[in-house]
């Protein structure tokens, strides 16, 4: 809840900053190669990523998923702008490769049948 409020507050502040038309919003600087490539590859109507906003959103989500507070910022700092915005917007849908030991109960039986028919492939640990 506090996380949500904080995200909201950050968003409101960011929007209010934009409406002031402050020259600080987009700073004149050289453009990186990746931004150029991405803009050339997708004929994007995509706005450039607001890194501050995206970081705030992604930070809340990673913390909620149990990432150590001291590590969250370091983990986000190593992402490119577009990776960061994907993480902030679509973390819930993003596949997280994990393990097959978590499967239990009914799901297990269903999977066992699908496995036997050859539709899926998770129990081939014992050849």
């Amino acid at each position: 809840m506090i996380g949500l409020l904080r995200t909201l507050l950050v968003q409101i502040l960011a929007v209010s900053l934009l409406s002031v038309g402050s020259p600080l919003v987009v700073q004149a600087e050289v453009i990186g190669t990746l931004a150029g490539l991405e803009s050339a590859q997708r004929d994007s109507d995509l706005a450039r990523v607001n890194r501050v906003l995206a970081t705030a959103e992604a930070r809340d989500q990673l913390q909620a998923l149990g990432v150590d507070q001291g590590q969250v910022d370091a983990r986000l700092a190593r992402l490119t702008d577009s990776e960061l915005s994907t993480l902030a917007d679509k973390l819930e849908q993003a596949p997280a490769g994990g393990d097959i030991l978590a499967v239990i109960g009914v799901v297990f039986v269903v999977l066992l049948i699908l496995e036997a028919v050859g539709v899926i492939d998770i129990f081939k640990k014992f050849p």
């Binding site: 020259p23 987009v26 700073q27 004149a28 600087e29 050289v30 453009i31 990186g32 190669t33 990746l34 931004a35 150029g36 490539l37 991405e38 803009s39 050339a40 590859q41 004929d43 994007s44 109507d45 706005a47 450039r48 990673l62 909620a64 998923l65 149990g66 150590d68 590590q71 983990r75 700092a77 190593r78 992402l79 490119t80 702008d81 990776e83 994907t86 993480l87 973390l91 993003a94 596949p95 997280a96 490769g97 994990g98 393990d99 097959i100 030991l101 799901v107 269903v110 999977l111 699908l114 036997a116 028919v117 050859g118 539709v119 899926i120 492939d121 998770i122 081939k124 640990k125 050849p127």
Partner: protein
Amino acid sequence: MGAVWIGVSRLLASVCAAFVLLVALAGCTVNPPRFEPEETAGLPAQAELTQVPFFPQKQYQCGPAALATVLRSSDAAGTPDDLVNEVYLPGRKGSLQVELVAAARMRDRVVYEVSRDLPSLLHQVAAGSPVLVMQNLGVKVIPIWHYAVVVGYDLDAGTLVLRSGTTERRVMGMRRFMSTWNRAQRWALVVLEPGQLPAGAQLDRYVAAAAGLEAVGRLAAAGQAYARAHEQWPDSAWPQLGLANVSYRRGDRQAAEGGYLATLALDPRNVVAHNNLAEILSDRGCVSQARAHAERAAALAKGTALEAAVAATAQHVAGATAADSGVSCPP
């Protein structure tokens, strides 16, 4: 009631029998997938990278294990235990693709996305690079996401060899692999040292990988990768632009200026080169040239994601003052 029950159980029994028969039949039909001759041209019939290390995964942690496998193969440091703190998400009991990419990049490795087809994957293995893949071992509605590393194949037998989970040498039919890989959008990557090109390197993907290094400040590695790309594709503007940007970020403005001019010689419509050149020129007092490049950039960036950044440059350039006549500006 009893009769009904017997009926149901007989029905179940016959369904089971049919099922067993089906499985037996399915088990017999192992036919390797057919490739077009040009897809497998130059591929040896079998290959296996036996020297690729194996890190058996701990619970839920196939991401760190698979990543450590490919990192170690490219001479980068990283054990699964180190990597857990960098890529594991406890709440998801797994690891995200972007975080695996980021962790490899922080070790100065070029993370190259392999074309989403099996022959391209096999070519990487034949060239000596193990391939990190994502699989969905479940089904679409009950996904079970998994990372593994392809280290070998046999075209005649139609099989792949993977380091997977707790199995060091998992032999898997190509068809079976394909169905698990298809369900993960055929995501696959190789981790390369910056001076190394992947098999069948594609310019856009290789430069994107190098640009990822630049974007997170791994400038030495980015520079090496761009230099290799420039050697491979001398007519493309992108590696040249990358080299210029690396020079700029290292504070060598003179080299950067030359690099942007060289970029524009290859591609006069490169927005980034015009924009960045405008910045450099205005900072050293070549105001009229800077304005010309800023205007060109603004015209080319119209309607793209770079529009705002280019407009900011134009504003900056408009406020610049011309230097004394002693400064030598490009024509």
